[in-house]
Subunit: 497 residues, 2 copies
């Protein structure tokens, strides 16, 4: 029996992280020497009464952070670094890192991007749908081409010129890039947001965000010292009446909006609302950032025209990316906007990291130009449609009758609202014990809290996983509802004395 | 005879940029319609009395920015985008981008990173020294491996785990990473600086930089609203007496120092000075950022031990990168520092751009692990040594006797100080007319201006190019010196009346 210390199933910290942290403490305290063997995952899972995948995830975290080393067929061992003394002799004044780093901390959950569990927690495509053979063929064409030498050399800050040209010409053909527009290649939409924040937002500015909104969007603006104001999102995207009211009251600098298959709700903004966004933004002098990274994932019917295309002024700034369609491990996205803005963003990009990685830019260009991306997209749309339907069917079948959920027509996620008194954060610990994870509403909240809200990201899982995951979530929710009713019944007030 | 408008040889704007800008004006004004042919480079060069390379460079800029399209064997044509009307109909209030973007502009030269001329202006390896066959073999091993699927999926913000582990283990073996340290993979040293600036620097802080210093370093801290104070750099790196004085007077937050083959001077900090840096920083509570991206390029003798290794407190933050040795188009660098700092930087990295590109991380890891990087480094050291000697010999041979220059023992650049009244900025226009470019001292100045200073980056050129480039620079300098003496002799004051 191996004692790894206390595990708190009721904590919001995922179980696998708790296990990993406990091991780190044992290693740091010298209770597990370098080279010593960790218990087998099956053994420890049995002992703790947990799913084996939870223990494996903990070991993966420890390995990725260098605390342990896995040896195929032999097990996992404490690495030399992990076992080295935690403190070094220090002479003179040490820098007090905790104190220096104390202010300005960004609120972030247990990084879902790196979560190794199969889960509803991450809005990314399934790696089992990656067209590996096509990727390999594309890559070989690129590295064997005479361009290889240019790709490997330092490039221009605006992006790999052939990719810039390709994307700009396509955007022009689509009508979203005007003669007054230009393009900047970034490391994906997150960097696009970050560069815009850096350039356009000053402390004290008010920024309008959808509420709920993707946590990466919230965090990027939070660090600028701006005031975030949420515009409520319903099944039809942001509430236009609320937007108009807030725009007049707050005189915001900027509105970030995701009109297609918004993260986390999956909502789509109707054409009339898109036109209203332009009208309101124009009247109040608000910069509109249109985040369209899910736009190509329309499973039902056609997508509505982008705000950028409808906006005659040309002032809308459009963000797109390859990451939701193709290979998110290759970090390439782009910004299309008025030339003076793109010029300054390109300068900011140069001093941020010189330019985006050119190998991935060239590979993604070739992937697109060769027609493989379009072919892959067709398969992704079929797979996404199947997953969306599996999720909607399962919500219908398993969730408590009083639960509400959005009905997206594309994208990667939907939003569930569990009936009171259910709390999605509290429920998560219980769900994780049964191998189901998701992100509760608190991570997406801007101005309104929605304790019953949670995001289900369905794109990365199989229809069968979606069905069984939502079955578990449904069962837990129903049980908890019954239990809370029982509690209420017996929690009557004492007699007045 | 094709009229492209006025060219000003005496301007500090490089000639190729002037030509490009003139073409843009013609296109924007509708004087060159979409599809119309540009004059052949040879023809226009002859007409303007310029080097053909200058005109080609202008065309490359225009092409990279999408204004023109090149067709092999047919020439260059105005692209459709370039020829479209420059203004679109606008209804309602337009965003006044110029006004919004006016404040906080970063001072930057005509982006040397994207300069397509063979020149002394960019500190990057020559693409002709890239081991293309080895790169291709490495890339194929990576994409054919079972890891491909993982690489293409979204990864952890700290970096591709096998690369993190590899680099951290090597750093531990070298003694620069302690048990209290951790590592973050970034998109190269520029992003490392940018993340550190974002996390550690607040408006009003004082930042100590070497003077002169790499302009990317200066620009990254300038945008934070910090006060930059320069510590003079001589042939033996930063002046320790000055550092001590400034540290006491200014109570700076942070010192960024490049102890090996500093950019732009090529200077190396002796062991005793490294120890003094630690002593002074410790006494004043200054965070030391050690930029060691040139450290592996020691052409003469061994490099001195890194400050990070000498610093018992473990507080020094070490920056390294693959870019100066291997393939700068693949953007991968790393930060080694105290774990609490790395934790927060990793969080900042996530909200900046999620994580570094994984394909390039995996390719560079394989390149290193396979031994190909070490082999390539040997060839790069031989080539670098040859280029350094060519540069030093040419400086000796061609520069005016009164000129001074540094004698680096590694790296990519050296610093020339031309005697008064020569001005390196004024001389540049003349040099560019003869096909020689460099960056004048003004771009590197922090607190002191050095009108006679200029950086010669020799690593990207052949020994023959270095020799002939410096021969031209020497001849121009000597002629200009003679001319200024003549001017002085005849510029006597008029008789007093």
């Amino acid at each position: 029996m191996f004692d790894i210390g206390p595990i708190h199933p009721e904590s919001t910290e995922p179980l696998y992280r708790q296990i990993a942290e406990n091991f780190k403490r044992l290693i740091a305290a010298g209770k597990m020497a370098p080279g010593s063997r960790l218990p087998a995952t099956r053994e420890l899972a049995g002992q703790l009464g947990l799913n084996r995948a939870t223990v494996s995830a903990a070991y993966e975290v420890l390995e990725s952070e260098g605390f342990i080393t896995g040896q195929v067929g032999r097990g996992s061992f404490v690495s030399c670094r992990g076992g080295a003394p935690a403190h070094v002799e220090s002479t003179g004044n040490r820098i007090d890192w905790r104190k220096i780093l104390d202010h300005g901390a960004i609120a972030s959950p247990a990084a879902p991007a790196s979560t190794p569990l199969a889960s509803f927690a991450s809005s990314r495509p399934s790696e089992f749908l990656f067209p590996l053979d096509e990727f390999r063929a594309t890559c070989e064409e690129v590295i064997r081409s005479p361009e290889a030498q240019t790709i490997l050399q330092l490039g221009p800050p605006g992006g790999y010129p052939p990719l810039r040209r390709y994307l700009l010409e396509r955007a022009q053909a689509e009508g979203v890039a005007r003669a007054s527009d230009d393009i900047l290649i970034t490391n994906g939409c997150q960097q696009s947001m970050s560069l815009l924040e850096n350039l356009l937002v000053r402390p004290g500015d008010t920024i309008l965000l959808e509420d709920p909104v993707y946590l990466g969007m919230k965090n990027v603006f939070e660090r600028s010292g701006a005031r975030l104001a949420g515009v409520p999102v319903g099944p039809d995207g942001i509430d236009i009446t609320a937007l108009e009211r807030i725009a007049i009251r707050e005189r915001p600098r900027l509105l970030a909006v995701t009109p297609n298959f918004q993260n986390p709700t999956g909502a789509t903004l109707p054409l009339a609302s898109r036109q209203s966004v332009i009208r309101i933004a124009r009247a109040a002098g608000i910069i509109v950032i249109e985040n369209d990274i899910y736009g190509e994932l329309a499973y039902e019917g056609d997508a509505e025209p982008p705000i950028k295309l409808l906006d005659d002024s040309g002032d809308t700034v459009l963000l797109r990316s390859f990451s939701k369609l193709a290979f998110p491990g290759l970090r390439v996205g782009w910004i299309i906007g008025p030339r003076p803005l793109i010029e300054r963003l390109t300068e900011a990009k140069q001093w941020s990291d010189l330019h985006a990685d050119q190998l991935s830019q060239a590979v993604l260009l070739r992937f697109a130009e060769s027609g493989r991306l379009a072919e892959h997209r067709r398969r992704m749309l079929a797979a996404g449609r199947e997953r969306l339907h599996a999720a909607l069917d399962a919500c219908e079948k398993y969730l408590p009758q009083e639960a509400r959920f959005t009905r997206p027509r594309g994208g990667m996620s939907l939003w569930i609202h569990l009936p009171a008194p259910l709390d999605a954060t509290e429920l998560l610990a219980r769900a994780e014990r049964e191998g189901v994870t998701y992100l509760p509403g608190k991570y997406f909240a801007v101005s309104r809290s929605d304790p019953g809200g949670l995001r289900i990201s369905f794109a990365g899982m199989t229809p069968a996983q979606i069905d069984s995951g939502l079955a578990i979530l449904g069962r837990i929710s129903k049980n908890e509802l019954v239990r809370s009713e029982t509690r209420e019944r017996f929690a009557e007030a004492p007699a007045v004395v």
